[in-house]
């Protein structure tokens, strides 16, 4: 048995007969989606009766790996051992049979079913429901007593809080006799209290001999409850260490990696008057969950404020409110003029009229109409612009095409064919279309989200240069990115967001990735205060 010596107690000792085999062992797992290698030759060993954390940035391949384990995907290569036995897992049913339970990030619950009904779904005893329900009621009561997993079995799931819904998912897995429980970002949707409760439950499960694999990007949680932790980066397994023998700092470094900073030629900023002022901005999503919890920030003309943070901590909501397609409470002023945040008197159009341009985080679902041609997309959001109108009724498509040709040349968009549909351009060139469209409006404030996600190196450099040129032209820029390199190399100030709040602000010249990584993981409040004083 090939064993990673760093893995843990049981792994280091070559398993002699009679010893407990590891709960999970993966060998050489690889999986590609098209040209993207999501998992590269992954080995991992999870000891029975432990809580094993898997951390990594977004897109590191954690969820793909676990989906392979749960039979959602088939690995291109590699072997899976469950309890020491070579196991093939072609579908979820096999995973369940092998004793694996999974709590997805997005729950797979039927909203208008009761808890009991959800628990027995697919694991019924016979054709009639009554015996199954009776049995489940009994089992649930036992589980509740044993693991602090109390949920009213007759409550409708839609009436339960997110934390309770998660408990239902755990109950579902336990009801199916899961010995191994995989949780994908389990605390992403929980309040701190709920998260604490979850940890107690997990601890209890572990004490009963269950094995728990927890995928997360939150260092604090890893430190708090895991026994071992594996770090993934860009589809590879970087390291597996004992939690007790590591530190958040080390993990942050492993997670982010020491990437060579790309050199972006950039002079010092010349901040002018305040362009954007945000005061105490709060946003709730359609489920009334608070996604922004009182954000305040300022951006001056001629400077770039970078927002760092792991995806899903409120950055998208911030951009959406500023861009005019989500509502919030609080105050936002641009050039001293207050923006409407209710959506009653504002939309994407009014924002543009107020001098805000927006390169959205997701160019494919927001920034472009993929079936539209490049020239049609060049007017997207600016379809009312006077220079694109022939008269009161007709658009001046010729002018728009000429304008597109010009921008395609300036921004080196390839192929330079204005009549090609957006979906037929590469990711980088799609992004350049959006960037060209938004930057050439000469806005006072540019919102730019994940400007280089899925963009090739050449285009990255180009886009970065454009952003800095726009700054030097005296514009205010709000840059949101999950790429720390990017933020560190082009932002003039860095604010880190976590859980709908700004954890702190740093000067890119004096901070480092480790410090930012801690803030991103929600561990920075204590250290945030002094720097603020210094700044």
């Amino acid at each position: 048995m090939s064993v990673d010596t760093e893995t843990g107690r049981r792994a280091t000792a070559a398993p002699p007969s009679g010893d407990v085999p590891p709960a999970i062992e993966l060998r050489g797992i690889s999986k590609a989606f098209g040209s993207v290698q999501a998992n590269k030759d992954i080995d991992i060993l999870v000891a029975r009766g432990t809580i094993h954390g898997i951390i990594g940035e977004n897109g590191a391949g954690k969820s793909t790996l676990m989906s392979i384990l749960y039979g959602f995907y088939k690995a291109d290569k590699g072997e899976i051992f469950i309890g020491g036995k070579l196991t093939t897992i072609p579908d979820s049913q096999s995973a369940i049979r092998a004793g694996i339970g999974m709590v997805f990030q997005h729950f797979k619950l039927v909203q208008n079913f009761t808890v009991l009904e959800n628990v027995i779904l697919g694991a019924e005893e016979g054709r009639l429901l009554a015996p199954s329900l009776a049995k489940a009621r009994k089992v649930l009561a036992e589980l509740a007593a044993e693991y602090e997993l109390d949920v009213d079995p007759d409550a409708l799931v839609q009436d339960l809080s997110v934390g309770l819904q998660q408990r239902v998912e755990i109950l579902k897995a336990l009801y199916r006799h899961a010995d191994i429980l995989i949780l994908d970002e389990p605390t992403g949707v929980l309040t701190p209290d709920e998260a604490d409760h979850l940890f107690r439950i997990l601890q209890g499960l572990k004490d009963q001999g269950k094995t728990i694999v927890m995928i997360t990007h939150k260092l604090r949680e890893i430190m708090e409850i895991t026994d071992n932790v594996s770090v993934m980066r860009r589809g590879t397994m970087v390291a597996t260490v004992k939690t007790a023998e590591t530190s958040p700092e080390d993990l942050a470094e492993l997670m982010v990696g020491r990437k060579v900073l790309m050199h972006v030629p950039k002079g010092p900023a010349n901040p002018g008057k305040v362009v954007l002022e945000v005061e105490n901005l709060a946003v709730r999503d359609e489920h009334k969950v608070e996604r922004l919890r009182g954000i305040s920030l300022q951006i001056r003309a001629g400077e770039i404020l970078g927002i760092a943070g792991v995806a899903g901590n409120g950055q998208s909501e911030l951009l959406a409110v500023l861009g005019g397609f989500a509502n919030g409470t609080g105050k936002i002023r641009v050039n001293g003029v207050e923006l409407d945040l209710t959506g009653r008197h504002s939309d994407g159009q009014s924002r543009r009229a107020q001098g805000i341009a927006h390169v959205p985080e997701d160019r494919q679902s927001l920034g472009l109409i993929m079936d539209f041609t490049a020239w049609e997309n060049m007017a997207f959001g600016y379809h009312n612009a006077p220079e694109y109108q022939k008269n009161w009724l007709l658009m001046d498509n010729d002018a728009l095409r000429a304008d597109t040709d010009k921008k395609m040349a300036t921004y080196d968009i390839r192929p330079p064919i204005a009549t090609l549909a957006a979906k037929n351009f590469s990711g980088g060139n799609q992004q350049k279309i959006v960037v060209a469209r938004e930057m050439e409006r000469n806005p006072d404030l540019l919102l730019i989200g994940q400007p280089t996600r899925g963009v090739d190196i050449g285009a990255i450099e180009f886009i970065h240069k454009q952003i800095i040129a726009l700054r030097d032209a005296g514009k205010a820029i709000l840059l949101v990115s999950v790429e720390l390199d990017e933020i560190m190399s082009i932002a003039d100030r860095i604010a880190v967001m976590f859980d709908g709040r700004i954890m702190g602000e740093r000067d890119p010249a004096t901070t480092n990735e480790r410090e930012l990584g801690l803030l991103m993981a929600g561990m920075g409040e204590a250290s945030a205060a002094p720097t603020k004083g210094a700044a």
């Binding site: 861009g323 005019g324 397609f325 939309d347 994407g348 159009q349 009014s350 924002r351 543009r352 927006h358 959205p360 679902s365 927001l366 920034g367 472009l368 109409i369 993929m370 079936d371 539209f372 049609e376 007017a379 997207f380 959001g381 379809h383 009312n384 109108q389 009724l393 007709l394 658009m395 498509n397």
Partner: protein, 364 residues
Amino acid sequence: MMDRLPRWADVVLVPLISLLLAAGISALTLLAIGASPMEALTTMVTGALGTPYAWGYTLYYTTSFIFTGLSVIVAFHAGLFNIGGEGQAQLGGLGVALVCLAVPWPHWTLALPAAMLGAALFGAAWAAIPAYLQVRRGSHIVITTIMFNYIGAALIVYMLVNVLRPKGQMDPASAHFPPGSNLPTLHELPGFSLIFTKQVPANVTLFIALLACWLVWVLLWRTRMGYQIRAFGKSDKAARYAGISPFKVTMVAMLISGALAGLMSINNVMGESERLLQNSSEGAGFIGIAVALMGRNHPFGVFLAALLFGFLYQGGAEIGLWTSIPIELRIVVQGLVILFTGALDQMVRMMLGLVFRPRKAEAA
């Protein structure tokens, strides 16, 4: 594999194959009931295309189908499935009748614009309520437009029986429109009368329909509104980012869609029957769905598909007249075309994909 078809194949071959499949199954049906598909086809071709007189009927149907087809595509482009063309067309007919009966029109050139306005307004109004309910109350527009077809039909019956029916008349129909509002048929138009030597139902509305094709094209691909309709239809999420109002787009698209369906009544109510009858649209509202699917959501495609269905309808009528095959054959073909182009399109694409794949492999 399914999405890898060349564009021309998707635009041309998919509807063509669908049509062939529909024709094939219809032929099998005919064989099964002991009729001859060849006889049916010849009867259809002579009866619908063989003489100018036949064309006069085919084009009459084509005119109606152009309007209802356009109605469906305008809504489709906004991502809305307007199944209510039937009701909107009948309400349009009511608008035409009210206008035509309101004053003793001196000449059709005066009556026509007024009647068009009436038809468009009534048709639009009947589409406006489902549109509003969809965008403000979240009611599914497909279901509400179906319901409005039936409510509309009932309303027409009421109007005909209780309001519009002249005293002493038995059948539920309005009075005949004043002669001054009668539209000239192709036979009565200078120049065209040389070709159409006999009285035919096709009338000046044909030209309005052709104009409407062009106008819809202009609307969708040349105006700001059309731009917003198409963008919203492709991605309502992205449309919100761009500041395109879902309310405005939904309402405008459905109003235009309803107006187009309503305008169909100029052809049949004002141009042909010259009074309002029960069920005036005779299913043309539904044929619009087939026409739109077949025409690949493009006004020019709608024109071609409307011609095809005009042929099918006139040909079907001829079959009903001259052979033992019932006229309902055309409804079967219509249904099959809708089925293959609208619901089994993935199957058709997969079939085509099988044809295209080997060739690609050779090339590679």
